[in-house]
Symmetry: C2
Subunit: 183 residues, 2 copies
Amino acid sequence: MEKNQKNERVTEILESAERFIRRGGFNAVSYRDVASDVGIKSSSVHYHFPHKPDLGVAVVERYSEKLLDALGDPSDPNEPVQERIARLGRAYAASLKEDKAICLGCILGAEISGLPQEVSDAVSAFFDRMIDWTELALAGAKGPTADARFILSSLQGAMVLAVTLKKPNHLDQTVRRLVQSLS
Amino acid sequence: MEKNQKNERVTEILESAERFIRRGGFNAVSYRDVASDVGIKSSSVHYHFPHKPDLGVAVVERYSEKLLDALGDPSDPNEPVQERIARLGRAYAASLKEDKAICLGCILGAEISGLPQEVSDAVSAFFDRMIDWTELALAGAKGPTADARFILSSLQGAMVLAVTLKKPNHLDQTVRRLVQSLS
DNA sequence: AAATACCTATCTATCAGTAGATAGATAAGC
DNA sequence: GCTTATCTATCTACTGATAGATAGGTATTT
C-alpha cells in the first residue's frame, strides 16, 4: 500500500515534470512549479529527487519505457515493413495530438549541449533504443529513406515544424512520405 | 563613426546571445552572462534590448538574414534542383560544424510553446521564409521527398540527432539521401 | 565662438522574484 | 524505534529589471 502510494506520488511528479519539459525544455521545469502542480511542497519533491538531474533522468527513463511499450514488437513477422514504420509514425502523431507537445527526446535532444551530463546521457540512451527498435523494424527494407536514423530524425524534425507552424498534419504527411518510399 | 560603434556593440551582444541560445535554448541566455561575455555590464545590455523578448526577436531576425544571405538565390536557372538542395544542406552542415551547435530555428522551434509570444512569432516567420526559399528551389521537382517542409524538417531533425549522438556525419548522410531521391 | 541643451552609451547600486538546495520538525506506518 | 513522506523555514545564488549618475558627442541657440 505505501509502496503504491509512493509510486503514485512519484508518478505524479514525473508526469508533471514531463509536461513542463515538453513545453519549454529542461530549464522550464522547477521544483516549485512541479510541487504546486502536484499539490505538495518543493522540499517534498527534493525528497524523491534530491537534485534536478535526478529528476531529469527519471523523466527520460520513464518516457523511454512508456514509448517502447506502446510501440510493441518491432519484428512481428505477420506485419509488413511499411506497417511497422506507420505504427512508429502513429505513436509520435498520437503523442503530439494528445499532449499537444513535441516528443521529449526532441526537445532534450535539441538542447543537449546545455544539459547536465547525466541527463544528456539518458537522452542519448533513449535515442539509441529508438534506433535499435527502428532498425529491427526495417529488417532489410530497401528504398532511399530506409534508414533508421533518417526515419527517426525526420519524424522528430517533423514534430518541431508541426508545432512551430501549428500544422499538426505535417507530421502525418511526413509519415506517409516515409512509408510510401519504402519497399 | 558613432553609429558603427553602436552597431558593433549590438552585434557583439547578438552574437553572444545566439551562442547561448543555440547551446541551451532561450532560458539559457541571461543578461549577466551575455554582458560578461561581451565585457560590459548587464544594464548596458538592457539599454540596447530593454526586455528579454526584444533580445530574442533581434537574435532570430539577425540569424534569419544571415542564413538567407548565405543561401543566395533559390532559383538560379543554371543550377539543377539537386544542387540547390545540396547547397541548403551544406549551409546547415557548415553551421553545425563551425559553431558546434544546432540551428537556431531548431532549438527555438522545439521550445516554441514556452517562448514569449513575440519570439515565437519571429521563429514562425523564420520558418516561413525558409519554406519559401526551399519551395522556389524545388521548382516542380518530383520524387517522394520533393517537398519543402519535408526537406527542411528532415534537415532540422538530422541536426538534433547529429549532436545528440555526436555523429556529425548523420547530417551529411541525410542531405545525400534527400538529394538522391530528387529528380 | 561660446554656451546651452540634448542624446548616447555606459556605469554603480539596488530591487523583488525565483532558482535549487538543505536542516530540522512532525506525523503516520510497520 | 526505525522508515517514509511530508511539512516549515531558511539559505545563497541568480533572474530580469530599474533608478540615477557620469562622461563624451551632437545639435541648437545666442
